[in-house]
């Protein structure tokens, strides 16, 4: 304790460094936040006001409410519908990804056969394939197989949820796989001896233990699915009945060229749900992102 005090006296510059660092960080932080500020600022202006001066404060903040209602009541783009569809698609995709990937990963860990290893390797190596190779054959294949199964895969919510399960499962299985390996097998053995069936063992013993890693899987997939553009564009189409938020935003930008009041308000509404979620679940999201990247 004494030595550090002495050091501080010897080096009075240390404190100055901290002030300087604080200043630098604060400036960078403001720079990072300016784009959000500009979106909010200009979402509360009319198109004319923006063209006249994009930097100025809005003359009347009520314009924000007017712009939002213009977006939701727009005759050409069904933004509210897209918003609801996006929530449904994200919700159901996350549900099936978390459930089926954890089930699959558990079998691949516990069933120690060559087949499990091969299957796991295939899942992992498929992560290399870029979406660009798959996207056009996928649309063609979904049309053919949909006709064959008498089940519309293109343009429907079940169809796109199914596609998200396929695209989301490799990474999710990989993450679950690593976590399940660290769970002691004795727990499951005890349950089996007590007469618990294999299926029930998973749902009553293993699944509850997965909770922290499920949060990680939900966050990684949730951010991706909410913001995804190409897959919905191809599977749902840009004029389909089912739409997502990113498609609706591009529709606004296409229909109201350079009408920044509408475009910016639509982007504001698009990013709000994730930002609000982040404010509440910040700790989990940061933890989930780190775990997802390092694995």
């Amino acid at each position: 304790m004494n030595s550090t005090k002495a050091q501080k006296k010897l080096h009075p510059t240390v404190k100055w460094n901290l002030v300087l660092l604080e200043l630098l960080t604060a400036i960078l932080f403001i720079l990072f936040m300016i784009p959000f500020g500009m979106v909010v600022l200009n979402s509360a202006k009319t198109s004319k006001e923006i063209i006249f001066n994009a930097i100025a404060l809005p003359s009347n903040w009520n314009q924000l409410a007017i712009n939002v209602s213009l977006i939701f009541n727009n005759p050409t783009v069904d933004y509210l519908g897209a918003f609801v569809d996006s929530i449904l698609i994200t919700f159901f995709s996350l549900l099936v990804i978390a459930l089926f990937s954890s089930m699959c990963a558990w079998v691949l860990v516990r069933n120690k056969t060559i087949w499990s290893t091969i299957l796991f390797m295939i899942f992992v190596s498929a992560m290399v394939i870029p979406f660009q190779v798959l996207m056009y054959p996928l649309v063609r294949w979904m049309r053919i197989s949909g006709d064959f199964l008498h089940f519309r895969l293109l343009g429907t919510i079940p169809g796109i949820v199914f596609a998200y399960l396929g695209f989301g499962s490799p990474l999710s299985i990989f993450i679950f796989h690593g976590f399940i390996k660290s769970i002691p097998y004795e727990l499951e053995e005890a349950a089996t001896i007590d007469g618990c069936s294999r299926g029930r063992t998973f749902f009553t013993i293993v699944f509850p233990l997965l909770q922290p890693i499920i949060v990680t899987v939900l966050i990684l997939n949730g951010i991706w699915i909410w913001n995804d553009y190409l897959l919905p564009l191809l599977v749902l189409g840009s004029n389909g009945i089912v739409q997502t938020i990113p498609i609706a935003v591009t529709a606004f930008a296409g229909a109201y060229l350079k009408q920044w009041d509408l475009i910016l308000t639509s982007t504001l509404i698009a990013m709000l749900p994730l930002i609000i979620l982040y404010l509440f679940a910040q700790r989990y999201i940061i933890k989930g992102m780190v775990e997802g990247s390092i694995k």
């Binding site: 960078l28 990072f32 870029p130 190779v133 056009y136 054959p137 499962s169 294999r198």
Partner: protein, 295 residues
Amino acid sequence: MKQSRLVNVLFVAPCVFAFTMVIIIPFFFGLYFSMTDWNGVNNAVNFVGFKNFQSLFSSPDFLYSFLITIAYTIINIVFVNIVSFSLSLMVTSKLRRRNFYRAGFFVPYLIGGIVLGYIWQFILNNILVDFGNILSIKILQTSFLSLPHTVIWTMAAVNTWQYAGYIMLIYVASIQSIPASLMEAANVDGANYITRVFHILIPMMANAFTISLFLTLTTSFKQFDMNLTLTNGGPATRFLDVPVKASQLLAMNIFNTATANRMAEAQAKAVVLFFVLLVISLIQVSANKKKEVEM
């Protein structure tokens, strides 16, 4: 035993089915279609061998996209890693509000590429230009997006804004896993801050650098959403005496080729993208293996 085998099959079935339907089958179709004359209009396709690939590498349009994507990727790796490493040092320092800053720098990552592209298009074309006019700063008066030699740098800067907070988290996790006593010991020994960062921190973080290097490498190579809404490929420029789109990265080139109903050609380009990413991942895997041996 029989019952447990049934459970195994039932548990892996949903993921395996979805994965096969949306990744495995379209992947092999995709490889095949790259060697056909598929045009998206006729359902019938004919095998043409490697013809599509041969014409690719003599097409200035594709070569330009390929080279500009490599340039963009390199700029991105440098930008993102320098910024995110600096941010990670800031938010692991003794600053009182470090956790607040860390949370804030990550926010841009939550915004999807589509939304982000519009926001930055507005900032670069309107806000900055307005600033330039008010303060009469000449270079700001023309948008950075409208000049062929600045557009790629601008895109990398925008991508850095989005991505730096995410890579920062990886570095932060790595810094926090280094025992604090190590840095303190060096401090007592009289090593100044810069020396400590370069001689202790950076060598200890080798693993984190590899992870973020490959993360930025692959995501830059696949960049699409932001490219679409920020520049849509523009402005026009010339390459090998042919007009090309100055900021049309590889993924967008594929997209535009397919939109023009040249499906087989788009598919061949996508296969090239796949092989590039495959080589990158193989290098990554072998790099990781080497490290494991050393450890």
